[in-house]
């Protein structure tokens, strides 16, 4: 029997980017807010000290900052006809853990989606006709537009001190920026970071080919910055230990370096770490959340009553908690009914590794930062005519080499032995003169009827709850899209003068063991129809109106960009709706 704690106005499940944003906005509105986080509290100086922050073995290989599979995991299969098996070592994506969540270990690539991405189904149907889309593709419009999100994108970029070059300010195309981006209300708060040599070379080759390269927008500081909450960040040192790592010198935007110092000064905010929420509690009608139940490290169960519940865990765990709490109808792919678990997506990331003449090219690849790179956006979203190509979707491509770390980044030409003297010799010869872009091709993955999340019938977690089960595979559309993008990407490396260009296409079947990105999306998506979405356009749950569900789980399909900018913009958008609409009249904000 759970012991009951004093009531709060708001309980927040998970204290990553979205939880921290919502906690700050609602605490500022005067509400009594508590956040419950599964993992530990983390501070910059004590948890990522320069003495060991750059330990690749500890953080990259041994997954120091991530959920331990012993705590919980998930099962995976490609097709519904197969039996899903549990994952015991993280592979294709990394479930974050601890205060700051994925915002601690991200590269800080801070993109906005294209205006057409938010009205994708409508846009593609109008341009190419409904028959152009694959029959089993289940893409949807978001029920929120780019223009509506713009102020919230802007707010997040100024919170983070994003370094970048604007490409479109209020409709005016800016030289050096991304000409395809939606109109932004003002420039980035900080100029772009300086680019390493291989990135500069890539930009020149792209320009020579007629593209418009621009620096990737980055949450790594190009100079010291104080954000609107008064919190300060220091300049990046280009150490190349961003992704998988916490930043030891206050240079990468994270909840720790941007929000938490201001948030914890509010006496009406508190947090409970190392406590795992096991369900969202409902009243007898099932239409109202009464709070959450969580378990602490002693194994004791507690009930935290609250008027408003904000679910802001990682994508698959958002979906799992809805399913385990019996909120919304579970998706059934055979009947094509139900909303929780549908439109689950990931990404199609691929690589082009290029080898240059070591006598002529010295790239110093260890000079890097997480979101550093020169990109082109000509082949993203619907920025180009897809009619001749027979697929939809796209992505940005760029020389986004974020590190030259010794274990992970030792590219050697194909055919080199995997270990031993010959391998060492090849590493030595190529380390300075090879390029290995991390997310070089960063492609979309659209949603399909047979890609989804549900509860596993066999495997249980430590609380005897069913594990979440992922059923996912790539479809022809994504394979074609990836081949197209990878080939375009490779052409630029050839133009740079590479002596050998090695393309690593993303292929089917989807491989759960090979890392792509942590950008899982969907499963509890937003939309305008309660029959095909779990949330309305304010991320409010259709069935339980005092529950808001934040994060990329709300994306109806993935776009060709990293999601954090959009995840954060949606969190601000939902917070604004709660502050200006919901609190005045708590109830369903949209009648459908």
């Amino acid at each position: 029997m759970a012991r009951k704690l004093p009531r709060k106005d708001v309980v927040i499940i998970g204290l990553g980017w979205t939880g921290a944003i919502m906690a700050y906005e609602l605490a500022e509105a005067g509400l009594d807010v508590i956040a419950i986080e599964r993992g530990p509290w983390r501070n910059t100086a004590t948890d990522f000290p320069p003495g060991y922050a750059a330990d690749e073995l500890r953080f990259r290989i041994r997954h120091e900052l991530f959920l331990r599979p012993g705590q919980t995991t998930f099962t995976f299969r490609n097709k519904a006809s197969q039996t899903a098996l549990p994952i015991r070592n993280w592979g294709a994506f990394m479930p974050p853990n601890g205060v700051g969540g994925g915002g601690v270990h991200w590269n800080a690539e801070t993109w906005r989606f294209l205006p057409s991405d938010f009205v994708l189904k409508t846009h593609l149907t109008e341009r190419y006709g409904a028959g152009f889309l694959p029959e089993d593709m289940t893409i949807q419009d978001w029920a929120v537009t780019y223009d509506e999100l713009e102020p919230h994108y802007d707010k997040f970029e100024y919170l983070c001190g994003t370094s970048g070059q604007a490409g479109n300010i209020k409709g005016t195309i800016m030289e050096g920026g991304n000409p395809f981006e939606g109109p932004r209300s003002r420039p980035y708060p900080n100029p772009p970071q300086d680019q390493p040599f291989s990135h500069t070379l890539f930009a020149k080759a792209a320009r020579d080919l007629g593209y418009k390269p621009f620096p990737q927008p980055s949450g790594n500081m190009s100079r010291p910055y104080q954000n609107p909450l008064g919190v300060r960040l220091g300049p990046c040192t280009y150490c190349g230990f961003c992704e998988w790592f916490g930043c030891g010198n206050y240079s990468k935007a994270s909840p720790q370096t941007t929000i938490l110092p201001a948030l914890i000064r509010n006496s009406n905010f508190s947090a409970r770490d190392n406590s795992e929420v096991t369900r969202i509690d409902l009243d007898s009608s099932g239409k109202r959340a009464t709070g959450v139940t969580f378990v602490d490290t002693a194994g004791d169960e507690w009930e935290q009553p609250a008027d408003l519940v904000v679910l802001s865990a990682y994508t698959i765990f958002n979906v799992q908690l809805l399913l385990l709490s019996g909120i919304g109808k579970a998706y059934d792919p055979s009947a094509n009914t139900g909303v929780v678990g549908r439109n689950f997506t990931h990404q199609t990331v691929s690589d082009v590794v290029s080898f240059f003449d070591s006598a002529k090219f010295i790239f110093n690849p260890f000079i890097a930062s997480g979101a550093i790179g020169m990109c082109i956006d000509e082949f993203n979203g619907d920025n180009f005519d897809h009619a001749a190509h027979g697929f939809v979707g796209g992505g940005y491509v760029g020389q986004v080499q974020t590190n030259g770390r010794p274990i992970e980044t030792t590219p050697v030409p194909p055919g080199t032995p995997l270990w031993g003297a010959e391998w060492k010799q090849a590493v030595k010869e190529n380390y300075q003169s090879a390029t290995k872009p991390g997310t070089g091709v960063h492609g979309s993955m659209y949603s399909y009827r047979d890609v989804y999340v549900d509860l596993d019938p066999t495997y249980k977690d430590r609380f005897s709850r069913p594990l979440v089960r992922i059923t996912m595979d790539f479809h022809d559309n994504e394979i074609k899209q990836n081949k197209f993008l990878t080939d375009k990407f490779a052409e630029i490396f050839e133009a740079m003068g590479a002596k050998q260009v090695h393309k690593e296409y993303r292929k089917a079947p989807y491989d759960i063991t090979k890392y792509q990105t942590t950008h899982l999306c969907g499963g509890a998506i937003m939309g305008s129809d309660p029959n095909t979405s779990a949330l309305n356009r304010y991320l409010q749950n259709w069935d339980v109106p005092n529950l808001f569900v934040l994060g990329a789980s709300a994306f109806p399909q993935n776009a060709g960009y990293n999601p954090t900018g959009t995840v954060a913009a949606l969190a601000y958008w939902a917070a604004d709706a709660i502050r200006t609409k919901y609190l005045k009249n708590p109830g369903q904000l949209i009648n459908a």
Binding site: D9, D32, P49, G51, V231, R232, T237, Y250, P261, S267
Partner: protein, 409 residues
Amino acid sequence: MRRSARLGLTALVLAVGTGKGTGADLQGFAAINRGRYLAAAADCGSCHTIPGSNHPFSGGRPIETPFGILVSPNITPDRETGIGAWSDDEFDAAVRKGRRRDGKLLYPAMPFPYFARMSQQEVKDIRTYLATVEPVHNAVAVNQLPFPLNQRAVMMVWDRLYFAPWTFKDEPSKSKEWNRGAYLVQGPGHCGACHTPKTFLGGDKLSKPLQGYTLQGWVAPDITSGQGPLGQWSVDDLSQYLRTGHNRFAAAAGLMGEVVELSTSKLSDGDIYAMATYLKDVSGPRPAADSSGDSSVLAAGGAIYQDLCSACHKSDGTGVPNLIPNLAQAATVNTGDPTTVLRVILQGAQSVATDREPTGPAMPAFGWQLNDTQVAAVATYVRNHWGKAPPVSADDVNKERKALDARTN
């Protein structure tokens, strides 16, 4: 919501307070407000609260002195264990004359020689404010000194030597601002209690006001305009530091972090500027002549510095304004006494977070990673490469390491 609950509590305390037979005017907002401000200026909260406790002014905090440990008493209005039953005159005698309620003498860990500069009315206002805070029942065994120091009669001698009660008088040749600053620094602010060198009996060396002292494991640097950091800082730099805990050179941590958090950050901009104006006008000795470390030690220290320190403090030691201290000009680095720099290298330090500068950046500990020789090398490097402070030996580091291991604060 929380705010209204607090108001309710205050009102309750006020209602209870009026029954206590003190002479204080608990209905008078003006007196309470003046008292609250002066209590902040006098930093009563630092010593009389256990850090992190939800019971301000309830005492029990150990105060380390060269003679032993004293523990601060409870100054909440609790009648039995606090000051609830004290008369205003008894309170005034304690604050301004160093006399307890029973007539015995207070130890100068209570800075009554400074507080004597306050007027009787001001002390009464502090008393009025303290009568409104939540009463906490907390009996404190104050005196934990060894014999014969635990005999308070010894204080008679001390008082005769070091306590010259006099009220503050304006210096007519100086500006109004300067005089306000002088009053705050010499009176309630009691800056000299930490920053003025002490005699072997613990009295202020009056010939060397504010020229630096080391206490409770931290260096309180020279804050005259002579060899200390203030020589380089402008009045604005100093104001910003006192107001926020950070400026383009430095970050307040340790005891000074507490002073900023509980005291100076709560003062008006005008008073902060006045204190800075006065302090900038206090002259002090010029820096001593060069003293260099051994070149091989400097080379080793420089290598450690580039590996472990330069990411934040930068290769040239200039740091990041308002975030990472400037080592090339850091007071606690470029001073004769390496206590603070060794402490921070070995143990790390969290700088203060204030409403205006909420970041509260911290430096991690390196004591687990570097041995005594390595710490000595990097300390010597940072003290010597940009500054002129004397080298540090591995023995110095070893002593500091042991002292820190034994510390409870």
